[in-house]
């Protein structure tokens, strides 16, 4: 990633007001996590929050590899899944033997599971970086996923292994049966894991990881072995992925081989990259968005994964910094006060872009309904407007809005670029880096 690597000069003693601001953010997030279920107390939203929390830990752990160390892994779900299985076996063992280990500590077991496997396999894997590493991670991912179906006694075959989270020793009188208690457990671990991972990026080790990402040769010259750094980074990523997997196992009270699979690895890559790998909060945004979309879109459309793929390709091609990158691009303009000159061109581009998006969605949905129903009459309800997939007018509307929207939107996009250049120049003149 070429985007915005924090350099060593960023580390300097911070003023008291700044450190107050820094700790303030964490405190606000913590209070937000506590208050959230009070505001949205329905069962559905509690489940969503729990899943989002787990996705945040998982995506942050992935960013230790992709964003911090520059390792593109296609098999990160291996550690997530193994963490889940470690937790399920531990929970069953605790319940069977009556060990005094309450549930809140159990996710650590998952982390340990992920860490140990990463420590065993990681040394071979991290010998090479770049494309070779990506291919190897894919191969190892497939190896573990396929092996999990063979080793039935450990992984439970197709059906997986179930557990009962209420059978463990209670803590503060909480049985962790109700979803709200599980939510708070997950929220607690989200805080712990996020703080730990943020702290990790601030350590000398975190900085060396960035250096290995940007220039491994130079790192070797100053006396570090990039292989060792990559290996340690890989182990940490496995640790936190294992915690995320363990929380999932607690949340669903089951672990199965789907946790280890390529789909899960793909999703975490999507979440992390869509959110943005260059900033710590990027994967958090991505995890929230992707999980939310996943939960929301599955009920709306059968081809939700296609939309994921299209969003992902769009981000890779036009905004490789992800959502966080787009947001942070505006910071210097905001500081210089030139942001106002860009806003009108954004508003102008909004309508044609929405028309384009609407046209693409209508086209995809029309094809999906048409092929699914084999040409029989089928009505699509899009934004409250009914469309019939078999009538030619629907197809024509889809084509016209897509092409027309694209042509008009492209003009407005050019305006954005021009307005942006002017605003950025203004910001640069005032001494704000842009």
């Amino acid at each position: 990633m070429s985007v915005a690597a924090p350099s060593a000069s960023d580390i300097r003693p911070v003023a008291r007001s700044q450190s107050l601001k820094f700790y303030g953010i964490w405190v606000i997030v913590a209070i937000g996590l506590v208050v959230l279920p009070v505001i949205f107390s329905s069962g559905g939203s509690l489940t969503s929050f729990s899943l989002i929390g787990i996705a945040i830990i998982f995506a942050l752990s992935y960013n230790i590899l992709l964003g911090q160390t520059g390792l593109l892994s296609f098999g990160h779900a291996v550690y997530y899944g193994l963490g889940g299985f470690a937790v399920v076996h531990m929970m069953n063992a605790v319940a069977a033997h009556g060990w005094p280990l309450p549930l809140p500590f159990i996710p650590l077991v998952g982390g340990l599971g992920g860490f140990c496997f990463a420590a065993v396999i990681g040394w071979v894997m991290t010998k090479r970086a770049g494309t070779v590493f990506a291919m190897i991670s894919l191969g190892i991912g497939e190896l573990v996923a396929s092996s999990s179906l063979i080793l039935r006694s450990v992984f439970g075959g197709e059906s997986g292994i179930t557990t009962d989270r209420t059978a463990l020793p209670h803590m503060f009188g909480w049985s962790f049966g109700p979803q709200i208690q599980v939510y708070y457990l997950i929220a607690f671990w989200v805080m712990i894991a996020a703080i730990a991972m943020y702290a990790l990026t601030r350590t000398p080790f975190g900085r060396i990881c960035n250096a290995v990402r940007d220039n491994p040769e130079r790192v070797e010259f100053i006396g570090y072995d990039p292989h060792v750094v990559r290996y340690l980074s890989y182990c940490f990523a496995g640790l936190f992925a294992g915690i995320a997997g363990g929380l999932t196992a607690i949340n669903f009270e089951i672990a199965n081989s789907a946790y280890l699979g390529a789909v899960q690895s793909g999703l975490v890559l999507f979440a992390t990259f869509i959110g943005g790998t260059a900033y710590f909060f990027g994967p958090i945004l991505g995890a929230i968005l992707v999980t939310y979309l996943q939960l929301g879109l599955t009920s709306l459309t059968t081809v939700w994964q296609l939309y994921f793929g299209i969003i992902f390709i769009g981000i890779v091609m036009f905004a490789p910094g992800g959502i966080a990158g787009i947001l942070m691009m505006h910071r210097p303009l905001l500081r210089a006060g030139t942001l106002g000159t860009v806003i009108p061109s954004y508003l102008l581009a909004l309508l044609p872009t929405l028309v384009l998006v609407g046209g693409v969605i209508l086209g995809i949905e029309t094809i999906a309904h048409y092929t699914a129903s084999q040409g029989e009459g089928n009505v699509i309800n899009l934004f409250g407007i009914p469309f019939n997939a078999t009538t030619p007018s629907t197809w024509i509307i889809a084509i016209v809005t897509t092409i027309g929207g694209f042509l008009v939107a492209r003009m407005t996009w050019r305006r954005i670029v021009e307005a942006w250049d002017r605003a950025a120049r203004g910001a640069r003149d005032q001494g704000y880096l842009a």
């Binding site: 296609f74 770049g130 070779v132 190897i136 894919l138 191969g139 990259f273 890779v316």
Partner: protein, 315 residues
């Protein structure tokens, strides 16, 4: 036993040649552009589905020519409008683009043709047993597949080694700037090479479709094996890809054909021990672990020869 060996060898070489049709394109694209085309297996799948659809409309033989051309056109469009624009963001972005593309292609295919296998049949003219070997009828279509793969292999070799076009392509692999200075449009060379690589994958899809299952998950099943092949052979090495294709093809075919397990070799475990990891390993047959054998080979080669069989490139 001899029958098993002969038939499995034939099938293994066939599967290996099929893998080579895919891995050769992937390798040439990789050594030229530094891009590992994650969507390569998806182009193979597109070939199979285009072949199926065109066979339904205009027959198998025109489809055999048209479907790869279509796939090649899709590939060129991807290079021209996707990869070329992403190039400035680096190789990781390019790899991610093709990853997203593989995802989208799979979704589009399952959206249009459904998730269940389509009825892509062997053309009637090739639907007869070519010869009978120890009581097993060997289908003529498989011989046809083998012939097509070998033919393309030979043509590719001649084009790359003996023609002017091949010379330019080879030069553009190592010295793109010099080739551009000599007046060749390197961008177009890249586009055409990418298109040809994808078209080769398309050919593989058209001829493999009737013999294997044509389904929207076929790219996802073959893709990882393909990457094992090119890492095993050494990234960027065409001879390495050839050997690795054959090795993986043979290993997988023999693996599926053999039915032995530790239990059958050394006798069953004491049943009083109950189910455990040991009993899982003891009772699993070679046929069951055949799908993971390529990945085991991958791990082994990484430990003992990290750059692959014939690889030189450090990346």
């Amino acid at each position: 036993m001899l029958e098993l060996i002969v038939i499995s060898t034939l099938n293994g070489i066939l599967f290996g040649m099929l893998l080579f049709l895919l891995s050769s394109g992937l390798t040439v694209i990789f050594s030229m552009m530094g891009v590992l085309n994650f969507a390569h297996a998806s182009f193979y799948m597109l070939g199979a589905f285009f072949g199926y659809q065109l066979t339904k409309w205009i027959g198998f033989w025109p489809a055999l020519v048209l479907a790869p051309l279509l796939v090649g056109a899709v590939g060129m469009a991807v290079e021209r409008y996707g990869l070329r624009n992403t190039h400035k963001h680096g190789h990781v972005a390019e790899l991610l683009l093709t990853f997203g593309l593989a995802f989208v292609i799979e979704e589009v295919v399952s959206m249009i043709w459904g998730k269940s296998p389509v009825d892509y049949r062997v053309p009637a003219i090739l639907d007869f047993p070519a010869f009978t070997l120890f009581s097993t009828n060997y289908p003529a279509f498989k011989i046809f597949m083998l012939a097509v793969s070998v033919l393309i292999f030979v043509v590719l070799l001649i084009v790359l080694k003996r023609t002017r076009v091949g010379l330019i392509v080879q030069a553009a692999l190592t010295h793109p700037n010099m080739v551009a200075h000599l007046g060749h449009n390197v961008g177009r060379v890249f586009m055409v090479v990418f298109g040809v690589g994808c078209a080769l994958a398309g050919v593989a899809g058209v001829i493999a479709g009737p013999a294997l299952v044509t389904q929207s998950d076929m790219a996802g099943l073959l893709g990882p094996i393909l990457f094992v092949v090119i890492v095993f052979g050494g990234l960027g090495s065409l001879p390495g890809a050839f050997i690795a294709s054959l090795v993986i093809g043979l290993v997988q075919t023999f693996g599926v054909a053999l039915n032995g397990s530790l239990a059958s070799a050394f006798g069953p475990l004491d049943p009083s021990l109950g189910p455990s990891v040991l009993s899982d390993i003891w009772n699993v047959t070679i046929a069951q672990i055949a799908p993971i054998l390529p990945y085991v080979l991958l791990v082994l080669i990484l430990i003992f020869r990290p750059m692959g069989l014939m690889g030189t490139r450090e990346s």
